[in-house]
């Protein structure tokens, strides 16, 4: 009970202290708002634009979620195929590693040109591509890690490759899938926000941040940045919750 209290209280205390320090620092050094606004000014903007912030977060959140689900499913599926066929595995892994090293967000302007300016598809597509790799790589690693004793046991039951996949590989890979998902959940929000920086539909947190900044309304821009942080946190917590529900009482890979 006491441990729990400390665990919840500690980050809250640190957070409040950081905000108070920030406020005092900006006051004391008379820092210009375009460099760094005060937390109280940001909070004022949050309250002023509450409804629009929620709406923008909803739009960006929807893009991130659709991309996360699509990219996640594709990543897991590709990993299943790659683990089953050695040739696919050997072809896909270097390709995946190479594409993963690329700044995928740089594709945003190109994707934007491929679709009409009123389409949300390019943003969702970017999220999909960004999310694909952590899920693909992590799931594949999980699928390929089969304990030799489990392999022997399944052989002793006369089981073939398909049964081994169903009974051992897939359930054994689950902790890895969720590690990938937790990584991907935060990435999905980042990608959805940043994708909006490159034009397209004038909706969502990223668009609001750029427009507020270009109007020198810095506290307002920060208010939307805070909303983006909150959205990322919600996604991460959602993934963590899903993990707990899917594997109650099981070991987790950090």
């Amino acid at each position: 009970m006491r441990d729990r209290l400390v665990r919840v209280a500690a980050p809250v205390v640190v957070g409040v202290a950081v905000l108070a320090g920030w406020e005092a620092f900006v006051d004391a050094r008379r820092i210009k708002p375009y460099l760094l606004p005060k937390p109280s000014a940001i909070w004022h903007q949050i309250r002023l634009n509450g409804a629009d912030i929620v709406e923008a977060a909803r739009v960006t959140g929807a893009n991130a979620l659709v991309g996360l689900v699509a990219g996640g499913l594709l990543g897991v599926l590709a990993a299943l195929v790659a683990s089953r066929f050695r040739l696919v595995n050997e072809l896909l892994i270097p390709l995946a590693a190479a594409v993963n090293a690329m700044p995928i967000i740089a594709l945003a302007p190109i994707f934007n040109n491929m679709f009409s300016t009123t389409s949300t598809v390019p943003r969702r597509l970017i999220v999909t591509v960004v999310v694909f790799f952590p899920l693909f790589i992590n799931t594949l690693r999980g699928l390929l890690q089969v304990a030799p004793i489990h392999r022997d046991l399944m052989a002793s039951y006369g089981a073939g490759g398909w049964a081994l996949a169903r009974k051992v590989r897939v359930p054994g890979a689950l902790p890895f899938v969720f590690t990938g998902l937790r990584l991907a959940a935060s990435l999905a929000v980042i990608a959805a926000v940043v994708a909006e920086y490159f034009g397209g539909v004038q909706k969502g947190l990223g668009t609001r941040i750029t427009s507020a900044a270009s109007n020198t309304a810095y506290p307002r821009a920060w208010a939307y940045v805070a909303a983006a942080c909150a959205l990322g946190l919600i996604f991460y917590l959602g993934a963590t919750l899903l993990e707990r529900l899917a594997m109650p009482g099981r070991r987790r890979v950090v």
């Binding site: 004793i149 022997d152 046991l153 002793s156 039951y157 006369g158 009974k167 359930p171 009482g249």
Partner: protein, 278 residues
């Protein structure tokens, strides 16, 4: 994996041996510079309902011999037959149950569902599986742990679950590779007694690998003593101690057999006390 021969014992043998190895050689990395000869010219017949233990120093190939019977590896030369059929066919027919030094339970399955795994692969219905796993968990003395996760059990308890799993499909042949090797002495003796009881109740043939001399003598009808590099059968000690009880371990005949096995191990093996765990 195709090494198991088709010529031996394909006829309608009247009383097929449970396990028959003839002229078995096993060379790892055959034909390459680091080739090691694990087994050389091994002939062994195990009768139905017999309890045979393989004992020998580390690296004498006793585990390899067991894996050959299980068709988890194939012989370089010679034939392995199980109940009159090639080892591979016996494996595909799930003719044997197997247990290893590690329990190897799957931590994503409950204890009961671990026991049921071989039955799932045989296509048993859910209800039948449940009933069978309950029966087996009773047999190994863990009825109240059916719903637990393997991680919540002690090493000895996990090993009992692994034995229940090996027995699940009611195999006529039980292959055990140092199943009690990682356990403390007390747990070990209790599980040995349990194994003897289980075997009496099921009438199964058992091939058991160990490096403990008292364990081999206590459990077996015959103790096969092996020597190392290359692995060969050095001596076979027939053990006739009758019904095993608590007192068996202190009987003079028991000690006489232990001595016989120890002498056989010492006589042929270069290293005296083969006690190092593998």
């Amino acid at each position: 994996m195709t090494g198991a021969g088709t010529s031996a014992a394909t006829g309608t043998a009247v009383t097929a041996a449970a396990v028959e190895l003839s002229g078995v050689d096993k060379v790892f990395a055959a034909g390459r510079p680091g080739a090691t000869r694990a087994l050389s010219e091994v002939d062994l017949t195990v009768a139905p309902a017999e309890f045979v233990t393989l004992i020998g120093p580390s690296g004498c190939g006793k585990s390899t011999l067991l894996r050959l019977i299980a068709d988890l590896t194939g012989p370089t030369a010679g034939t392995v037959t199980v109940f009159g059929k090639p080892a591979r066919q016996a494996r595909l027919d799930q003719d044997y149950g197997i247990a290893f030094q590690q329990a190897g339970l799957m931590d994503w399955r409950s204890v009961a569902r671990n026991v049921e795994l071989p039955l799932e692969l045989r296509g048993w219905s859910r209800g039948r599986r449940r009933a069978r796993s309950r029966e087996l968990l009773d047999l190994v003395g863990l009825p109240e742990f059916a719903g637990h996760r393997p991680g919540e059990l002690s090493g000895g308890m996990q090993q009992r679950v692994a034995i229940a799993r090996a027995l699940a499909a009611g195999p006529r042949l039980l292959l055990m590779d140092e199943p009690f090797g990682a356990l403390d002495e007390m747990t070990r003796e209790r599980l040995q007694a349990e194994l003897i009881r289980i075997r009496r109740e099921t009438g199964a043939t058992v091939v058991f690998v160990t490096h403990s001399i008292p364990e081999a003598v206590y459990l077996s009808d015959r103790v096969v003593v092996m020597s190392a590099r290359p692995g060969r059968i050095a001596h076979i000690a027939a053990v006739d101690l009758g019904e095993r009880t608590e007192d068996t371990r202190e009987a003079p005949e028991f000690f006489a057999k232990v001595t016989e096995v120890r002498e056989a191990l010492r006589g042929r093996a270069p290293i005296p006390a083969p006690r190092s765990p593998r």
